[in-house]
Structures are given as structure tokens and as C-alpha cells.
Symmetry: C2
Subunit: 336 residues, 2 copies
């Protein structure tokens, strides 16, 4: 399954890779993403050179995060929304963030069975990102993947995030608009939904409102609208909607797209889109600084020299982790 | 709602606070947790002094993580399991990790309505931790709260985590045993469950197996057992069980506790518990180092001096974030 980043970098200069991406060469985009995901130092250096060139390319891509609990029907919804987007004459990229698997990466059933129709479309670029390498950190690799995809000039980039939790904050830092997908049902579900998720959502889509669920769907809609009413607005002047959708019946999908378009118009008019993207760039810088700082710390000779001894003292309870951390950081900073 | 950390630290020395915690003074435990959660420098210093003293206290607390999607019935399950634990003559603390709200912290419906019965029990200490302050990082404050609670000598500490995602990795670094709660239902849900969550679970409890759900529950059990069978075992020699539970009917709760006890016996016999706790201590040290490093970086005069200019260059697209990050870190490290 894993592509070799060696292939990517064989002989090709960063300039050529970036040019090809910007010209719309998908194979090169896929290879550059593999390069970005590689942990090898030389690949990282080349990836940064490619990204530098890609960043210079201004892009008008609409980057949309799709989030929701497992089982909320994200894949089916994206498949249906993707068809709608292509039908409207727009080009589409779909990226997946999966922050949940540390040991092996990927879902149990795999990505193959997912988005079957969409993946055969020439207008769509589908890339599952097994971002298992930077768990627990604010790893900016998904962000980098989004930036490469933006440089490729797709009109719409859908970023699917798996699971509900900290990844929400990350997705907010990387996307322009967030759709929260929720199953019909109220009470229990609403109790479980935390403010944070509702607060960052721009549009809520209730999914699978078909068959037996049709009755409970409008109740759920009312519940979510009430819940939104209890929260401060995300943007002053934009009323967040709760839409009923069914990927199976194809209902509410066009409305979802129209609501997304309305949201983008609103953000453009108010200058929110621009300031949001500035904020994203700022967060990326922060994330990169943290990563670089950690890298330098762990490579520092003074740290390497003292690390084993301090770790052993902490593990044998003769030194507290707080004092240990303090000693290690001092070893790094007091070098002069 | 928020307690004042001022009160906590007023006049009391770290030694007295730690002593009171170890002696089982709950009010002091609650205050020390507030101290740990404070972002004020002086509170942090005192908190570390208290933690140093508490860490010296060896504790045999069983620390159990309870995780699962929103709506999986975590509160009801914890309430029922808590009653079972108290019924068996053990003391209990319940801590909650909520990594999902950045803006305001806490759930929409609040914690008041939750665990009503348990919170009136003198044997139980209930503490919701609004860990909203260290989102996106590997913030060790929940870990610190667990350590304080361990020093207080509770037999069992249940740590509830909200949402499914990166917090799973954090909870694995802080607890001895992880229960994954899942609603009955198969197919869809199983597709949505990522390997990572199944991989770290020690016991899977299917919840709400009552009423209309009773039929689908045993199907779900078979599905989850099959899914577990596809994964490598978490510990060689320990067969992970999938239990059917209903907090409403009170079924499967005693069995869940017995399975937890079996798991702890297994871990103790094989020396896994000890090595797992060493690993936790190691991770805590790592998290503290990262925090300290970031703090020193942002307080560094050379960084402060160059930061504004570099940030402005990145935001105006005249400098790439990669080059910007590199320049900032160099400003910090090249001080001699």
C-alpha cells in the first residue's frame, strides 16, 4: 500500500515538483503528499522547498471540514456532496484525517470500500491521510497536505476528520468552514455533545434521515436548533442552520452545498475568510516552531548526555518528573 | 462555579497540603486540583511542590479509563459501576477529561445533571476536570490530577474521557486499564470505529442493551468479538472480552467489575502494571519537558525581539512559515 517516497524525490527538483502540482498534475500531488508524510530528513527538506513554492501560489480553494461521531455517515455524505459539487462543474479533492490509530493507522474495514463512486470520477482527487505519525502533537502534516492540494487549484477541498475530540481544534485551524454531521436522535446524543464541537460548527447536517429515522429527524433538528440558540453565535450576523439530509435518498445534499456557498459568501463579504486564513498561517507557524524546537532539543549534545541519567532517576522515584523536566530544559538552554 | 485558587494557596504550605491529601482530606484534594489547573506561575510552583510530595507516596489505586462516543452512556455506566465498586467496600474517585471545548469548557447540559446518585455518596469523590486550557498539546494536567487523587489513596479511580480521538492516546498514558463503551448496532458503527480505539481497549462493554436494543446487542457482541479477533492482542495471554451491559436494568455491571479485577490480577502477575506505570511516568516527564521548553522559548528575549517581525513576514507571504519557524528557533538556540 505505502508508496515509496524514494521514487518521488528521485532526480526531481523541488521547482519541477511544485510546477507540476500547480499545473494540475495529480500524480505529482500524490507523490508530494507522500514526501510530506515521510519522516526522513532529506524528504522533509525537499517537502519544505516544494511547500515554499506552493505557498507562493495564491489559491481560492474552499476548504471544508466534515466532522462527526463514528457511524454518523461521513463517507456516504461526502460521496453524495462530492457528486453534487462535481455536478455543479467544480473540481474536488477529498482528504481524510485519522488521528485515532497510533499503532497501525487506518480503519478496520479499510478505505477501499469507501467513496467507491467518487474515486472513479476524473474530477475528484481522493487521498486518505494516515496521519498516525504525529499523534498527540499539533502535527502540521495534514495542514501541509491541505496546502499542497490548494496549490493544485481544486475549487473545493473536503477534509474528513475521524472521531470527535481534539482533532476538532486542529481542523478549525486548517479549514474555512466546518460541517458537523449528526445522527437523528435527541436527549442522549445532545447530552454527549460538548460545547466545543457545536461552537466550531458552521453548519449542522442531520444524516440518515430516511426509513425509520425519518420521524425522529425533525425532533433532532429542533433539539439542535435549541442547543445552538443557547450558544453565542460563531460569527455575528450568520445564523447557523440545522439541515436534514439523506445520502440514501439524496435529500438535503443540494441544500447543504447551497448553505456552504452562502457561508463562504458571508465570510468573503465580511473579510472573515481572509483573516481566518491569516490565523491558519499563524497556527501553522506555531506548530512548525514547536516541532523544530523539539527536534533541536532531542538532538542537543547536552540533553543527550544528561537524558538517560535524569530519566532513570525519575523512573526510580528518586527525582520528581517536575524537577527532572526542569533539569533537562536547563541543560538545553544554559549552553553559553 | 469556579473556585478561587487564591483561597487554596492562602497561607498553606505545600507540605501541609500534601499531608492533608494523603490523610484523605477531600476538600484539600479538590483545592489542590484547582491549584494544578491554575495558570498562574505562583500556583504552578506550589502545585509542583505538592505533587513532588504526593508522588513520593506509593499508591495502589486502580486507575481505569472509561471511553466511548458521545451518547454511548458513559455517565450512566459510571454511575452503575460506581455503585458496584462502593458496594464491594472500595473507595472511589471519578475524574472527567473533556478535551472538546476550547472556548468555554464544559458540556451543554452541564455536569450537574450527571451522576446524581454517585455524587451524594460519602465513599465517592467526583471531579469534572475542565481541561480546556491545554488543548492541542499533550497537557499533563489531567495526569497531575490523577496523581493527586492517587496520593489520596482511593482504591479505584475512574477517568471518564469525552469524545473519541486523540484523547485516547492521552488516556492510555494516564490509566492502567481502559474500558471502551459502545452502543449496540453493527456495520456502520464498526466501520466508523478505528483500529486505534479498539487497540487500546482492555475490555469492551456494550451499553444500553435493554428495551428495543436487546435483540441487536448480541449481534453487536459477535461483531466486536470478530473485530477484536482481527487485531493483535493488546497483551499476549489476555483475551479481551466484549460484555453486554445495561445501566438501566443493572445487568453486566458486576461482570464488568469482575473483568476489570481479572485484568488487574493479570497485569500484576505479569509485571505489566509496574512497567505500564513506569511508562506513564516517562510520558509525564516528556510532556513536562515540552511545556517547559515552550515556556522558556516564548519568554526568551531574542525570540520576543524577532517574533513580531517574523510573524508579520509570514502573514504577508514574504517569508514561508517553514523558514520563519527555522529563524525563530535559531534565535532561541544560537544565543552564545
Amino acid at each position: 500500500m505505502a508508496r515509496s517516497p524514494e521514487k518521488t524525490s528521485s532526480g526531481m527538483e523541488a521547482e519541477n515538483i511544485a510546477e507540476a502540482i500547480i499545473a494540475g498534475n495529480r500524480q505529482m500531488l500524490a507523490r508530494a503528499i507522500t514526501l510530506v508524510e515521510s519522516s526522513k530528513e532529506e524528504h522533509q527538506e525537499k517537502a519544505h522547498a516544494v511547500l515554499d513554492l506552493c505557498l507562493a501560489q495564491q489559491s481560492e480553494s474552499m476548504v471544508i471540514g466534515i466532522t462527526g461521531s463514528p457511524g454518523a455517515g461521513k463517507s456516504s455524505f461526502i460521496e453524495a456532496l462530492g457528486e453534487e459539487i462535481i455536478h455543479r462543474g467544480l473540481t474536488l479533492a477529498v482528504l481524510c484525517i485519522d488521528p485515532s490509530s497510533r499503532r497501525s493507522g487506518g480503519s478496520i474495514l479499510g478505505d477501499k470500500a469507501r467513496m467507491e463512486k467518487l474515486s472513479t470520477r476524473p474530477e475528484a482527487f481522493i487521498r486518505p491521510t494516515p496521519s498516525s505519525c504525529h499523534l498527540g502533537g499539533s502535527g502540521p502534516r495534514t495542514h501541509e497536505t491541505i496546502m499542497l492540494t490548494r496549490a493544485a487549484g481544486y475549487d473545493v477541498i473536503l477534509v474528513e476528520t475521524v472521531g470527535v475530540g481534539q482533532s476538532e481544534v486542529q481542523i478549525e485551524n486548517m479549514t474555512d468552514c466546518i460541517l458537523l454531521l449528526m445522527l437523528p436522535g435527541s436527549g442522549d446524543e445532545l447530552q454527549g455533545i460538548k460545547r466545543g464541537i457545536m461552537e466550531i460548527a458552521d453548519i449542522i447536517c442531520i444524516t440518515k434521515t430516511d426509513g425509520e429515522q425519518e420521524r425522529s429527524a425533525s425532533l433532532a433538528q429542533a433539539d439542535f436548533e435549541a442547543a445552538l440558540g443557547m450558544l453565542p453565535p460563531k460569527y455575528e450576523g450568520f445564523h447557523r442552520k440545522v439541515l436534514l439530509t439523506s445520502a440514501l435518498k439524496g435529500t438535503g445534499i443540494a441544500e447543504s452545498w447551497e448553505e456552504i456557498a452562502t457561508h463562504f459568501s458571508f465570510m468573503r463579504e465580511r473579510g472573515i475568510l481572509e483573516s481566518h486564513r491569516q490565523e491558519q498561517l499563524f497556527r501553522l507557524l506555531e506548530g512548525l516552531v514547536e516541532n523544530e524546537l523539539k527536534k533541536q532539543f532531542h538532538a542537543d549534545p547536552a540533553v543527550v548526555r544528561r537524558k538517560k541519567e535524569i530519566e532513570a532517576a525519575v523512573l526510580s522515584h528518586s527525582l520528581s518528573p517536575f524537577s527532572g523536566a526542569s533539569l533537562l530544559v536547563k541543560a538545553f538552554t544554559r549552553r553559553r
